[in-house]
Subunit: 327 residues, 2 copies
Amino acid sequence: MAIERVCIIGAGTIGSLYAGHLADVAEVLVLTRRPEHADALNQHGLRVTGKSERHVRVTASTDPGELPEFDLGIVATKATDLEAIAQRLEGRFAGAAMMTIQNGLGAEEVMRRHGEWRLISAVTFMSGNRRGDAEVEYELDTATWMGPYAGTETPFAIVRDACELLLACGLQAEAMSDLRPAQWSKLIFNAAVNGVAALTELPHVAEFAAEARPADLGHLVHDLIAEGVRVADAAGVELHDDPWEMNRRAVTRGETNRSDYAHLPSMLEDVLARRPTEVDAISGALVREGERVGVPAPLNAAVWRLVRGKERSWAGAARTSPEEVRA
Amino acid sequence: MAIERVCIIGAGTIGSLYAGHLADVAEVLVLTRRPEHADALNQHGLRVTGKSERHVRVTASTDPGELPEFDLGIVATKATDLEAIAQRLEGRFAGAAMMTIQNGLGAEEVMRRHGEWRLISAVTFMSGNRRGDAEVEYELDTATWMGPYAGTETPFAIVRDACELLLACGLQAEAMSDLRPAQWSKLIFNAAVNGVAALTELPHVAEFAAEARPADLGHLVHDLIAEGVRVADAAGVELHDDPWEMNRRAVTRGETNRSDYAHLPSMLEDVLARRPTEVDAISGALVREGERVGVPAPLNAAVWRLVRGKERSWAGAARTSPEEVRA
């Protein structure tokens, strides 16, 4: 399959990074939620700064009915917005392959309930910062890993084509026959690191690997990860990476070669902005998988319930302000 | 022992409630941390509003050396301030009995390291709101329970005298030969309810007893309490109250007969004011007791580590404001 036209479905930070690069090698459509976002992209194009510099043309719309057929869809919404967008795609673009890159587990199943698209599972380690509706900064130029959605008939050739397209426009990518080892490594890492960041409001800093004193946070991160690894074992998934080593390397300069590494995990971004988080798809998914395979995950369940409780506190935030308490 | 002179050591909400009432039946001294607090009390006296109305004279100072001998000291600082005040009391007031009312465990041991006072263990369920340095509102007129510090030679007669003094001035009180069953009931309740409130920033509301759906917070509160009960069992403490029932009753109108019950646990007050919390003396104490008796308490350890992590996030709060993330 020659991929000539790509549709980026949801142009947050990650979707914008794909759109901005892929426009070098394909025609790029963008499906947005907000009309003013589509207008900005149609008028001004999309600018990428940081690790690469680009200014490209894209065709954006909020209405799937206005978009032409495409070969590859990259579904880049938050996990929390996936159900809504999948409903709007239902009955359309039957010829496209759809690649899901959401955090956590379960994105492919949501898509499957709404159409017969060939599905590509993916995880990405890229990061960036939106600078507005028509500009995104490329921060970590790390890989997207992809594979056929396990247990379906998505041919590996399509995955390889999508991978080559990403490589051709300068992104990092790798095609794998089975993505689950990588998907689960990231799931277990995210459940621990995003969950602890969301609850402590600490960015991903050295404390996440500290285990010298009993109250040190590294013990909890380690225990959350160990619980996730036990669930993966019971689910028959052999992990691609050791999530504890991923955590340790990230906060000890190994990944970034910067001593001031203090990445803001996406779930902490959501917490600080008081948006619903992806905790259901991350910690919640791990807990549900644990139940399915008969391995309890009480610490991940605790994180899940606490983050959900924290989300509910925002509704009642007017009850007591810090100023009233400090007074 | 006739108790004629009482010293309130630390006049936050609870200390002020004791001072305001006890002045009816004894001479009341107050040891404060801030000079302006002592000045306000000496100039204006102390006013109590709410469940009882009083305006009394007290003698306040920041300097233990300025205070005369007294019969009973009520040590009412936060657990986090206890070590500092115990150091300042060292070598003084040898004839006094000292009653500790801190949340959690370990206050008596801190005092013991600094003097030979006869020690009374106490827990209080009173609550109120400070309205300034010289005024406090009495909210819940519930009991103070007290007993001889277990394993020491504090005679029960002193405890009974202290209890009668509290009753004489209109407070609720009960003397017990062994306080540990009550102290541990409150410890386990506080570790769960204060910890979950501090992390979710929810006041103590109905969600704390909700167990209908897998993500409901009541599961976590229940599991935290079950863990604490197992530690108590192994430590040979038979609980005075079932902490889960304490939680359930509190949020289902049983205690307050109010449908809008939403008590702000003290650890959440500290979080909202960005003050150090008492989590070391509460969740931390439970974890340490668990280790001592060979019963792990991983969920309480998680709460301990997360709250400690959250405290550290305040130092770096300038790194990213919610406004920057929302933008």
